[in-house]
Subunit: 366 residues, 2 copies
């Protein structure tokens, strides 16, 4: 048994770690933290269990928020909104959920499953479907391993709801996305309902504990007067990509996504260089002086140089001094179906995916 | 008991009558006719029952197609597509439907309920929710009398489906509309599920038999060498509005609706005059030389001068010689809630609704 109960300190560490794994997406970690702390303060317990603790026949349902993170800042949620979608799905299946799962590691979607687990006294599985954050519903290893996104439930804070049953996961994304836009930019979903056996094969293991571990490493290194970035790279097997100052930021809210581009002018050892980061909710590709440094599905995370804290794409702003790091993605994304689902080509970049550690080794040889 | 079984001749008459009541909307009546004739040729019977034959406790569900009629011409339906939505709604309510109802009188939405009734061996009620056609889901007397549009089912021909449960009927329209657009412009719905008692209060009675009566009057007058327009005005209590030639037609497909404007240059007694008809799927307002002749909720129907056949808005084209008639709407639309729902102001025209027979009387006095 690998189960544990979340402490307040775990929650503090988790939201920092999740924001780093969130690669700029998933919304404000501060809001997510408040959601979970409220539950703990009510005396509720949040039990996290390992993937192998899930029975083959158990009914597993991931819950999440969908939409543009910037809207979630404007309409501050309590995290309980997804309860309604979960209930609709339970009614549809005429079966109670046994385990809650995260769909992604990043921002409030790391914490919503914890709130739902607390409210419903259900265990939450130490796993997710991305090992990071991604902008579309079919961009999960659940999809890669053949689990259907629908029947899924989607609801808003007014009480509007829908149960979708679509022919494939791309249709689930398309229909849920237009509904989310019509709801005002954010919605609450219960999706990829499945059973223990397929779930265990498809899930990315240890995402919650990894996020906590990352947050803890950052916190402890600071407390010990060590370099937090070194600690972060150590625990994530990541790479330092760039250090600089944001000199330009472009945004456009298209089709329910926060798309845009940030330009960073190099400082210190990167003086004279420029790094461009393109994002769609999450950071997708980092290009230094025309050369690709990292791309999806590998993780690209922007940190505040002064505080060492991760910055979500909606908080990027002119003048901010930042450090950009790259982290290798989970191996499940490096399979042919994984790359077809979330590789740079899917996002419209006509480039081949090269694992970040390979790109970095090449860089060393130059 | 006012029940009767539809004959082939009834179907021929009905689609003509329904196209006239459809005021330009509802899609091609020829497609609708083929749907129903196919059912009769398979040996199926279509039993039409009067509103008073419906038990208070009976489960009544209207079925329909939703979307831009022009798309329905491109993707020719069999009429059976709505069976899936009906089945989803039955599963949701865990109850079999007792009576099928039309939602509108016009185009293929007059015939889809007949096809579904035939396929499921269910009676169809001689009534509808408009007594004409309208472009939005809340524009039904069911809404005016407090029946909820949702839970409603919506599906496409690929097998995608959703059950919507919305806080009001405007939200049902909004969400179903974006789904319809995403489905490619047309969808199949089962909506306004209700029971006999509220249905009987809300429905517009006799819509199927009225459509048949209109079609029959046209056919018989032609056979007897009489003026079919006179026969039409007689049976509908309608008014001749204009005679002319279409000289301009503008269209724009916006938000899932076929919107546009037709300009008709007067001929014979209307020489020197111009009539402009504005439409959104259906004809909404007729303006002669700057003066309003008729507006929603009264019916404005365009007929081919030569054949005497009604012309749907998507078939309006330059050079066509047409006769425009106006027909008083059902009294349920002339209530305050009725006019709030489908009056000219709802459609963005800053004019007061004046019943067509009042406008015509004024015209006589001039």
């Amino acid at each position: 048994m690998t189960e544990f109960y979340l402490s307040k300190q775990d929650v503090e560490d988790l939201v920092i770690g999740a924001a780093i794994l969130g690669t700029g997406g998933g919304g404000d970690p501060y809001i997510g933290k408040l959601m979970v702390l409220q539950e703990l303060e009510k005396g509720r317990k949040i039990r996290v269990v390992g993937v192998d603790d899930v029975d083959d026949e158990a009914f597993v349902v991931p819950v999440a928020a969908m939409g543009t993170p910037v809207v979630l800042i404007e309409k501050i949620p309590s995290g309980k909104e997804a309860l309604y979608s979960l209930k609709l799905l339970e009614n549809y299946f005429k079966r109670k959920v046994d385990f809650i799962s995260p769909i992604e590691a990043g921002g409030i979607n790391s914490t919503i499953p914890l709130v739902i687990a607390a409210e419903r006294s259900l265990p939450v599985i130490d796993a997710d479907g991305m090992g990071r954050a991604f902008p579309e519903l079919q961009m999960v290893t659940y999809h890669v391993y053949g689990i259907k996104a629908s029947p899924m439930a989607i609801s808003d804070e007014r009480g509007n709801a829908a149960i979708l049953d679509t022919v494939d996961n791309f249709w689930a994304e398309k229909i849920a996305r237009v509904i989310t836009v019509k709801f005002g930019g954010s919605a609450w979903i219960a999706i990829y309902p499945t059973f223990g056996k397929p779930y265990k094969e498809a899930a990315i293991r240890g995402s919650i504990s990894l996020a906590i571990e990352i947050g803890r490493a950052l916190r402890e290194s600071k407390a010990h007067g060590e370099n937090p970035i070194d600690a972060l790279l150590d625990v994530t097997h990541g790479f330092m990509l760039f250090k600089g100052k944001i000199v330009d930021i472009q945004r456009f809210n298209i089709g329910g996504f926060a798309r845009g581009e940030a330009t960073i002018e190099g400082l210190d050892e990167h003086k004279g260089s420029k790094l461009v980061i393109r994002f769609q909710n999450e950071n997708l590709v980092a290009i230094r002086d025309g050369e690709i440094m990292a791309s999806v599905p590998d993780l690209i995370t922007v940190l505040d140089s002064e505080s060492g804290k991760p910055i979500t794409t909606e908080r990027l702003r002119y003048g901010l001094r930042v450090i950009v790091i790259g982290i290798p993605c989970n191996e499940k994304w490096r399979t042919p179906k994984g790359l077809e689902t979330v590789g740079p080509k899917y996002f419209g970049y006509d480039i081949d995916y090269v694992p970040i550690e390979v790109r970095m080794r090449k860089g060393d040889q130059l």
